[in-house]
Amino acid sequence: MLELKGLKKLFKGITVLNGVDISIKQGTKIGLSGGNGTGKSTLLNIATGFLTPEEGAIILNGDNITHFEAWKFARLGIKRTFQKVRFNEALILKEQLYTSDEMIKRNLDMLKDAGLIDYLYAFPNEVPLPILRKVEVIRALLECPRYLFLDEPSAGMAATDLHEFGEFLKEHIDADTCLVVVEHRMELMKKIDANIIELRDGKLDNGNIIA
């Protein structure tokens, strides 16, 4: 279980998170919603080790990992994607999965469903955005994460692409993996049957919800 306890975060004196408490069990699907600037991405960055909270703790299966670096969060099975896709423009996509040929062969079905097979040898600027978003998810999924955080994956996607993206997540994310999606658009949340939690005034709605 991943527990975020009393998280507080300030940016230039402004309180962004003001005591967020949530316990996330493996296998749950959570949709984190909220208006612009409510701290959704900040919460995601803290939960994945890319930011350190001023107060509070992150507990993974009883161990306090609050001050671990982000790479260690990833090794502990807490992975993420980014709001703006991050790829090296000089490398073909196959090389940006950072995995072996054997692993690619083993996950061929997932790559086919993502529509990636035709683009394995393409540069990122030659590939449609919805596929790049799936490649980011695949990159995280190849190492079988226990917790996967997606930061606004629908940004820049048309409704049909979003539907396909939702199908892809449902099909390829293990039942044991906890999925947290930071998202504005409700279609995707519904598609993956997520428990929707809203972040408002630096706190989760209805006090602090336990998922």
Partner: protein, 300 residues
């Protein structure tokens, strides 16, 4: 082959070690203006090992590699929180600190062939290994080239390894690297240390070839040239720095008649090449394109 060409080729080979060393640091996303210091340390270590200690050349060069790598390790750990411009300045400061320290090292011994040992500003004289072992300039070129080739083959072999791919990711985007569990610190420290070792090894060969070294030989311009060769050649493949060396020294030597204007030409050449090839001649994108063509050809 004339002695002139042998000497030019040997100099090109020796400076290639600094270029490769700069290349290794560029791979992990940093710019070092300090590789000349590790080259200098390597030179002093080999000079000391072969003259004062009478050690075999293989052991001397190994010591040069290890001691220079150790100093580079110190630099990498001290600058762990620095990057970009700040790392560049720190590397230059560290290099100057080491180079200026060489002015203070004095330990000389009188022998039948003259004074040996580091002698402060007067440098280290009578490094007579090539004379004592009857190594002709051609033979020395073979030794230097074989050593360089060994490093290049090692790097080409490693290029397809997970280690190097991860290092390139660290150099390009540390956030993505961390998101998939790659620890940037490990790659940064490892590559800066290896780069120091490579420069030190080259410096060791330089001391043997030159037979005389002094601290002023290892100033910033040496490091800037090494860095420029890497950038001109491109960061896509280990042959990049060598192409940079070949283009620059080859061209500079062919226009020797321009005397002092040659350095103006050098600056212009670097600018022109980088306008035409912004990521160097063998850029990572070019290497990816070639790989893609080869895969398509194999599949066809």
């Amino acid at each position: 082959m004339s002695l002139y060409f042998v000497t030019i080729l040997t100099n090109m080979t020796l400076i290639s070690f600094i270029a490769i060393s700069a290349y290794l640091i560029l791979i992990v996303g940093e710019v070092s203006f300090g590789q000349q210091a590790f080259f200098g340390i390597g030179a002093y270590i080999t000079a000391t090992s072969t003259t004062l200690l009478g050690l075999d050349i293989v052991i001397a060069l190994f010591f040069s590699f290890m001691v220079s790598a150790s100093f580079a390790l110190v630099l990498s750990v001290l600058t762990v929180r620095l990057s970009g411009l700040y790392f560049a300045v720190a590397s230059l400061s560290f290099a100057e600190l080491l180079r200026l320290s060489l002015y203070k090292i004095e330990y000389t011994v009188e022998t039948s062939s003259g004074t040996i040992g580091p002698n402060g500003p007067e440098g280290f004289q009578n490094i007579r290994w090539i004379f004592e072992n009857n190594i002709s300039p051609e033979n020395f070129l073979v030794i230097a080239l074989s050593s360089l080739l060994a490093f290049i083959i090692f790097l080409i072999f490693m290029e397809s390894s997970k280690l190097f791919k991860n290092a390139r990711l660290v150099g390009k985007d540390q956030i993505v690297a961390q998101s998939i569990g790659i620890r940037p610190f490990f790659y940064r420290v490892g590559f800066i240390t290896l780069a120091g070792g490579v420069a030190g090894f080259g410096g060791g060969l330089f001391a043997l070839f030159n037979t005389y070294i002094e601290p002023s030989m290892f100033g910033i311009m040496l490091g800037v040239h090494g860095l420029a060769y890497s950038i001109i050649g491109g960061l896509g493949y280990p042959l990049g720095p060598l192409i940079g060396v070949f283009i620059d020294i080859g061209l500079l030597e062919s226009v020797r008649f321009l005397s002092e204007y040659r350095m103006i030409l050098f600056g212009g050449l670097v600018a022109a090449i980088l306008i035409i090839f912004p990521e160097g001649i063998i850029s990572p994108r070019l290497v990816s394109r070639i790989k893609r063509k080869l895969v398509k050809k194999t599949n066809a």
